[in-house]
Amino acid sequence: EDKVVQSPLSLVVHEGDTVTLNCSYEVTNFRSLLWYKQEKKAPTFLFMLTSSGIEKKSGRLSSILDKKELFSILNITATQTGDSAIYLCAPRDAGNMLTFGGGTRLMVKP
């Protein structure tokens, strides 16, 4: 059975801090890994990673995948209160199935 573990479960930081969110996975026939941000209800897409070692970047957010060690990290620099959300990672298998982790709840204090 596919398994996804995100850490930490929750995190409280102050504005301006840098955070690193972790996602480890065990997925049969791994294809790609997606990151989503869930602020209220609808998760919104952040990144899709398919190749090891290639960093994807969007503003203050970046993410990288290690297919050998079976993990991904999501970095957020210079955090803002608007970054407060649940961050979800979801590896996808060759059958197009996404398995979501339990998420990391990030709270950024002013």
């Binding site: 997606l34 199935m97 996404l98 979501f100």
Partner: protein
């Protein structure tokens, strides 16, 4: 362009009743996915429809069922509701079954079973 829309936003039922949740995908998207998110938990996969066919099903009892209509909208039905069915039900759509397609989510239906 409208995103994924779900209705109703909230639904309150009692144990034993049936619930019907609806989802309209983004225009042009043929794949629809349903997920359950219980309080404090991650998204659990329920069902995947594409081109009117059920493509995969998660580890849920048969009282969770659904269908996809010719216009690609979808319905999730939950029969014989139990208290533990209380959760946020999220629908997502993607352009097709391509392995590099990202999912776009709706805002969900909050189902409360009393």
């Amino acid at each position: 362009e409208a995103g994924v829309t779900q209705s109703p936003t909230h639904l309150i039922k009692t144990r034993g009743q049936q619930a019907t949740l609806r989802c309209s995908p983004i225009s042009g998207h043929t794949s629809v996915y349903w997920y359950q998110q219980a309080l404090g938990l991650g998204l659990q996969f329920l069902l995947w429809y594409d081109e009117g066919e059920e493509r995969n099903r998660g580890n849920f009892p048969p009282r969770f069922s659904g269908r996809q209509f010719p216009n690609y909208s979808s319905e999730l039905n939950v029969n014989a509701l139990e208290l533990e069915d209380s959760a946020l039900y999220l629908c997502a759509s993607s352009l097709d079954t391509g392995l590099d397609e990202k999912l776009f989510f709706g805002s969900g239906t909050q189902l409360s079973v009393l």
